[in-house]
Symmetry: C2
Amino acid sequence: MKKKGTNHIFIATSLDGFIADKNGNIDYLHSIPNPAGDDMGYSKFIARMDAIIMGRTTFETVCSFDIDWPYTIPVFVLSNTLDKIPANYRGNAYLARGPLTEVLAGIHEQGFHQLYIDGGKTIQGFLQEDLIDEMIITTIPTLLGGGFPLFGELTNTLQYKCKESNVLLDAAVQSRFVRVN
Amino acid sequence: MKKKGTNHIFIATSLDGFIADKNGNIDYLHSIPNPAGDDMGYSKFIARMDAIIMGRTTFETVCSFDIDWPYTIPVFVLSNTLDKIPANYRGNAYLARGPLTEVLAGIHEQGFHQLYIDGGKTIQGFLQEDLIDEMIITTIPTLLGGGFPLFGELTNTLQYKCKESNVLLDAAVQSRFVRVN
């Protein structure tokens, strides 16, 4: 099967590679002064995405925020336990089930090809199947000393290339990696 | 006690933060074509160091290489098990024992202040005591999926700042972090 789309990560980690600390908190993300509310390239990134795939945990976290629904593109929620998307999120979020390659094929058929993959477990699942084409990683220069790691175990090593890297807010560093064979 | 010197790391890791793979190999370091033998800034870095502190494992690894002794500055080998430095390394390498702060005080007294800290366990030990001032980390863009991590557990979080970051050899990324309080 010809691959029709590309899958992208845009995420922040601590300097030691954790996306959340030992207690599941992400306070470290705010350890850098950001008075002007620099979005670290997020709006530029999301503008070139067609849809989002996230895990149930990430979906429920977003739902728990006391804010309006933050996405303007469709969100596909990977879950084998959720029965249906809660009523107030229908039209914005869609349930996706089954093997990742089938989920992707279904989403591509609907015309969505540039996909933002979000959530720790979901990202690890995509990487285990070598399904990530691009990773934009913002390293917040804090050593947490433990927590939930961005990267997990892999059966095979995967080779990427760093295409660009920039210091942000005089403290963090954002690097863009693309998959090479 | 006034701190007299500064401690520096210059090391490469995989994109997922390992300094050696699951089998203890460092083949991933050579996954990027480097036809001109670019030293990735090592000679510039080592030129501003006064001495090296490394663990016994790293020392024995260096000794096992079929090359001439590669350092022109004194090497202090941290070990509580080594009795003495083997005869053919004396004059180049010196045994260091005891708590890190005492080891450092002794080395400073000898006039060595800018110290290159090397070896996985040694680096983790220094970080646990918040004794690292600068880290130059070269990220080789391979996901290994497991191995020996550069960073270990910490009691307290540590805050750094990224001062510069550059793409090297069109594939790797080198970032320089300094400790901030």
